[in-house]
């Protein structure tokens, strides 16, 4: 009897987190835009239509993933897939401690995030896809020239511990997506395709065919310093890294 109650409680507890609102996806229409980096000769890139999670993955969602894939738990994960700070704020393998279940999961490596999305039949968004969705404010597909929008993004850098906030409290953008700015940074599938070397002032050598990043010389908008910081942040990462301000969400090419 006691056991069955426990099971029911566990079951009830998990309903909202697994199949609830959090993993909902919305369609993003095909379009073109000029990213800060990566567009050779400032030509726009084309983003094909795709689907993206409305919210970043939460602690409770990630916990249920780990329960099904214990090899990705804190103590079991292989060193090549995650560094020592992987889930460092979690109390133990199956307990995220005092963290808010509705807060974004952070301290997750790229390998783990990728695996998570694959287990949902999804994938990580590409950097172009992510930036494409992130350039929208409440009303416009591309709000990057709006001073207020940029101010909003930048003000986030001046607020500490935003990773403790629950998902869905920032604004809902044109596509119906939340938390692209103001909560945590997010992994993208090809986070290191634009390579800003540590020395951001010299990244202008022409021999880097693949790595066309340049902190100033090749950028399309020298005043878009919010974007500079995103690209610099991605440039500082390696796939096994995990940090307290970095979470993720998933995308999909087809409707699930």
């Amino acid at each position: 009897m006691r056991k069955s109650i426990l099971i029911i409680i566990l079951f009830l507890a998990q309903i909202p987190s697994i199949n609830g609102q959090e993993s909902r996806m919305v369609p993003i229409k095909e379009g073109t835009f000029v990213p800060l980096y990566g567009a050779t000769a400032k030509k726009p890139v084309n983003v094909r239509s795709f689907y993206i999670d409305v919210y970043p993955i939460t602690n409770s969602e990630y916990l249920s993933f780990i329960k099904k894939n214990p090899s990705f738990s804190k103590s079991k994960i292989k060193g090549i897939f995650a560094d020592k700070s992987y889930l460092s704020y979690w109390k133990s393998d199956f307990d995220f401690g005092n963290a808010n279940p509705k807060s974004p999961v952070a301290n997750v490596s790229w390998f783990a995030a990728k695996k998570y999305c694959e287990c949902q039949g999804k994938r990580l968004p590409t950097m172009d896809e992510w930036e494409y969705v992130a350039m929208a404010d409440e009303k416009k597909i591309d709000a990057r020239t709006k001073a207020e929008f940029n101010k909003y993004i930048l003000s986030w850098y001046e607020k500490s511990k935003t990773y403790e906030n629950p998902i869905g409290k920032t604004f809902q953008n044109y596509w119906g997506v939340y938390d692209m700015h103001g909560l945590v940074w997010e992994w993208t599938a090809d986070f290191n395709s634009i390579f800003l070397s540590g020395e951001s002032r010299k990244d202008k050598s022409q021999d880097k065919n693949l790595f066309c990043g340049a902190a100033s010389v090749n950028a399309t908008d020298l005043m878009d310093y919010a974007a500079f910081m995103r690209y610099a942040f991605r440039g500082s990462l390696k796939a096994q890294y995990s940090t307290r301000n970095l979470g993720f969400r998933c995308a999909s090419t087809t409707k699930l």
Binding site: S85, S155, W156, S160, K161, L196, K202, A232, F233
Partner: protein, 482 residues
């Protein structure tokens, strides 16, 4: 006779040539620098790091070592000036960052740690590093991570370090700079006091003094129009009880840096002459210097002996920065007066070649923000800050004024008799003879370009200090006198 002369002249030429060769070759010997890359390190130690204005202990004549530097990057909120907050990005928790002290030949093992709660990646470019990016290319570090690289310091001098992560200017503008000293063999000549002073310019969305958390303003940074130009990261870091100190007869050395990001500094100590200046922080020593130019991303080592007591005001002699944007510090020297070196005032009366016209400050139209209701205590606190940057140079720290030149504000009968007149004096300036506490003054006070709120605060502070009659001045009272 003629022949003899010819021979002797030939001999002379010969000797001259020999001498010249000897001088040239001996010169060569002296100027060839030692090859510090070949110095072998002996042992290992952890570097002492200090927050400004302190510096680590002198190196003296220790041998070159492997020196471990542990530096943590922290993004944290701090105070720019009273009531104004700013999110600083710091090396070691201070602006400027921790002072690093080394000697030539040291091998520095640098551990750069990015605090897990930080939002951004950072790196470090040390101008003392001979290598790509000054270390920046090997040190880009994500939050919650640590990067280690090492370098050998092979040039003696005082060098700037800073963050070089995109957008570079913003990282520097937020305070990510500091100094690393590379002492020559045997160390620098000993002095009695050593201090660390570094200038920086800051760009905020609100104008100077606008309250609350002020975000960084990239437009102002690109235009190079800072709201604040300060020493050691904030207004008042070297005043209001944080003065640098020395005693009469002591020698003082200042390690001065300029983090920029934009402005060059005309570094000057009012009432002192630098006995020695390591020009641009290098080996060239200039003597008897009044003002030394410190480029953005550059430095200078200055030293001087203090012979007389008093407050010596440290400024950027691009002078509006000092009195209007915060670049003001104080070296407080205590000890006995030396009348032979400085007599004090012996002349009475003022000579005014331009005549007694009132000078005006240009009035800048700025967007009016609603003035919040303030308690007397808040007014006094804000007013004290304004006094420290605007009034203090003439009327002095305790409102005592300067005899025969600037009237006292402390227990001032002139001030206490009529607050409207006092408000007008600040608003419109004052010239001509006035009698304060029985003494006649005949000087010019220029009109001050302060807001109603600022005048109300500073006057409330003055009226509630030094035995005055505790009048509370409101912005409305100021407005009615405009």
């Amino acid at each position: 006779m003629k022949k003899k002369y010819k021979i002797s002249s030939q001999i002379r030429i010969f000797f001259f040539t020999i001498c010249t060769i000897m001088i040239v070759s001996s010169c060569k010997k002296e100027t060839t620098p030692s090859d510090y890359t070949k110095i072998i390190t002996d042992g290992q130690m952890e570097a002492e790091l200090t927050a400004p204005p302190k510096v680590p202990k002198p190196i003296g004549n220790r041998s070159a070592m492997k020196l471990k530097v542990n530096m943590e990057i922290k993004e944290q909120e701090g105070i720019m000036t009273d009531g104004v907050k700013y999110t600083y990005w710091t090396f070691g928790g201070s602006v400027p960052g921790s002072f690093i002290r080394t000697r030539v030949g040291d091998e520095v093992e640098f551990h750069l740690k990015n605090h897990p709660d930080n939002k951004l990646p950072h790196n470090i470019d040390l101008h003392a590093v001979t290598g790509p990016g000054g270390g920046a290319s090997s040190s880009l570090v994500a939050p919650g991570h640590e990067k280690v690289f090492s370098f050998k310091v092979i040039n003696p001098g005082l060098y700037v370090y800073h963050c070089a992560t995109a957008p570079v200017g913003m990282h520097i503008a937020n305070g990510m700079y500091g100094l690393i000293l590379v002492e020559p063999e045997g160390g620098l000549p000993p002095v009695d006091k050593e201090y660390y002073v570094m200038q920086g310019d800051f760009y905020t969305q609100g104008e100077y003094g606008a309250k609350g958390l002020q975000p960084f303003d990239m437009n102002k940074a690109v235009k190079e129009t800072p709201d604040y130009v300060v020493f050691n990261g904030k207004v008042g870091s070297l005043t209001n009880g944080n003065e640098l100190t020395a005693k009469v007869g002591e020698t003082v050395r200042l390690f001065v840096g300029n983090g920029g990001p934009n402005l060059v500094s005309s570094f000057h100590v009012i009432g002192e002459i630098f006995d020695n200046v390591h020009v641009e922080g290098g080996a060239l020593i200039n003597k008897n210097v009044q003002t030394t130019l410190i480029p953005a991303g550059g430095s200078a080592i200055v030293d001087f002996k203090v012979e007389t007591p008093g407050n010596f005001i440290i400024v950027d002699h691009s002078i509006f920065r000092a009195f209007n944007k915060g670049a003001l510090g104080i070296l407080k020297v205590e000890g006995n007066e030396n009348k032979k070196i400085y007599s004090g005032t012996i002349q009475e009366g003022i000579y005014l070649p331009e005549g007694g016209t009132i000078q005006n400050m240009p009035v800048v139209k700025t967007a009016k923000t609603a003035i919040p209701k303030r308690t007397i205590a808040e007014k006094i606190k804000i007013g004290k800050e304004i006094f420290g940057t605007t009034c203090f140079a003439c009327h002095q720290s305790e409102g005592q004024g300067i005899p025969h030149a600037f009237p006292p504000l402390a227990k001032s009968d002139y001030l206490n008799a009529d607050s409207k007149r006092a408000i007008k004096t600040i608003l419109h300036g004052l010239s001509g003879e006035v009698t304060v506490n029985g003494e006649k003054f005949n000087s010019i006070m220029p009109a001050q370009n302060l807001s109603d709120d600022e005048i109300a605060n500073v006057m409330t502070y003055i009226y509630n200090s030094w035995g005055n009659n505790k009048t509370e001045v409101t912005p409305e009272m100021v407005k009615s006198q405009r």
